[in-house]
Point group: C2
Chain length 368, copies 2
Amino acid sequence: METTIQHPGSILIRTTGAFIVDDVLYEDSSKIPETSDIALPFQTHDISHIAVDIGGSLAKIVYFTSNESTEKIDDFIQFIHKLIKFYKKKVHIMATGGGSVKFYDKLKSDLGVDVTKEDEMECLIVGLDFFITEIPNEVFMYTEQNPMQFVNDRKEIYPYLLVNIGSGVSMIKVTGPSTFTRVGGSSLGGGTLWGLLSLLTDASSYDEMLDNAAQGDNTNVDMLVGDIYGTDYNKIGLKSTTIASSFGKVFNNKFGNSSEERKSHFNPQDISRSLLYAISNNIGQIAYLQAKIHNLKHIYFGGSYIRGHPQTMHTLSYAINFWSQGEKTAYFLRHEGYLGAVGAFLKRQPTGWGRRASSSSDKTQEES
Amino acid sequence: METTIQHPGSILIRTTGAFIVDDVLYEDSSKIPETSDIALPFQTHDISHIAVDIGGSLAKIVYFTSNESTEKIDDFIQFIHKLIKFYKKKVHIMATGGGSVKFYDKLKSDLGVDVTKEDEMECLIVGLDFFITEIPNEVFMYTEQNPMQFVNDRKEIYPYLLVNIGSGVSMIKVTGPSTFTRVGGSSLGGGTLWGLLSLLTDASSYDEMLDNAAQGDNTNVDMLVGDIYGTDYNKIGLKSTTIASSFGKVFNNKFGNSSEERKSHFNPQDISRSLLYAISNNIGQIAYLQAKIHNLKHIYFGGSYIRGHPQTMHTLSYAINFWSQGEKTAYFLRHEGYLGAVGAFLKRQPTGWGRRASSSSDKTQEES
């Protein structure tokens, strides 16, 4: 281990044969398994680095342990301290995400260990490429009939669009293992959903917001084409059930003069569902438009927004399918929130994944 | 007048020489004049029809009067009744917008007059074409230095993209006076802004919401790139002042456990500005992407969302300019909310505007 620490980058992470450790075998395809640890069966060397991805709202951590389980924890820094203690302070931190730039000095001095910053977009792509090509039963398509249809042994990987939904949204065109461009994004992302719902409902966690959404009926809040027209608007192909205006039923004098009075007419479940639909539909539409402009057939959705929530995946899939008339496909990942952290983790090695993207000097910037 | 009523379509509306009646001459280009009546100086025949555009949230009305002023009114139906009384019940109503379909029977029976339904998209285009080609000092570009730079005597009108922002958003590609296709839209429109702000603030009207927005600072609510990175993210060209996540600063346990407690940490002005930015930016981005896909340089923004509000026009203009790197131009209109109603009004005549789009049998549907 000493050697490892003193010569960063000299450990080979053996990704061959990697697989997801499922607690149960899932014969029932309608049941979505929980995200689980990834096993690296051929990894014999110790790995004494930790990868952290510090975003706008969440921080993610990836580390290697020799079949030892570690309790889930809430506090990120405490957890790193604990890990460092476990490694006897001989760890190296690979840090990515905006927070790794902002808190670089603090991380380094507070933790007293070496910290290497890695570019956020590069790490996302390294992580995603790893999941696509090395981990079976990781990438899947969503339909209501089959919410987790795994896509293994893909032959054509590139080009693709990665839509990473964290607090905000980044859309990255990837044309090869080391070639990518951030083509766009949106400020309407997870942070918008969480922020607005924390002002509109008493939900205390994102999972509670998603539970609310699962029970809600958005048509009490949204104005549908049918609410305006009384029927379909056939001439332009809009069904009466299409959402014409998200929250379009809310602004009405009959609901009172204060925000509290007005809010009493709507329930938190319906509000949550409407907003989840609005944000997800919007991301789906922009993703489709970007994929069309850049001629990309495959769209991967990553980031901590989705959390395996069926309605979210349904809405994103539906949007891609609706707008592209079936020409483009939406893919999801079981480790969707860990692309950046896993990418940073993998970058600390002499060959393989880490090297592939770190040699990406030819990528261009076309922030359009 | 009897003849007119018994032979619908036999009145020629003389649009030649039409102009906007401004209350003041505006030498000061930084002052935005109020929307005003349009004079038809060569109109000698009486016009005894009324055009109504009934949308999801608002209804608009257009009628002709021989230099008689009429008080502004709040109640739409009352107003039509009054007008009908004024015309001695001898009027014909040209109705457009979704509400004209939904309320057709009711309009006809309650008002006891003839009602002709006209297609919403067709009327929008007829109205816009009229404003672009016939009304001087109607179409303008917005910059902070010159908030109303009029665009007169345009030589190339077609093709263009019309982005009509009402409760929801419709985007229409127009390639000639009678050729158009609705290429897309968004459910995040005026109804979303009004609906969410009526639950988040005590503002009682849309104008009050816009006044709030004008006084707000969105950076208390939005998470900027600088809040995450502590600096610019130069590698992908994102400035520290770019909004990474709208409402991204709001979801935080430190703000309390109930929506009311949390809301007390934010002021309604900042919330209003953040949401106005979020919705306007999003529409601007989708408009740009559609304009890029359909190769359209000119983008007109219509609908009752804008209301001459400088920040809204600034945000829409900025979005188009930012994404297109100056290649596409955003245009605004002083009668932005009346495109459909004016279009319906103009359709009741034997030649000219009304006929141009009513002959549009060759338009295709490519709801994509």
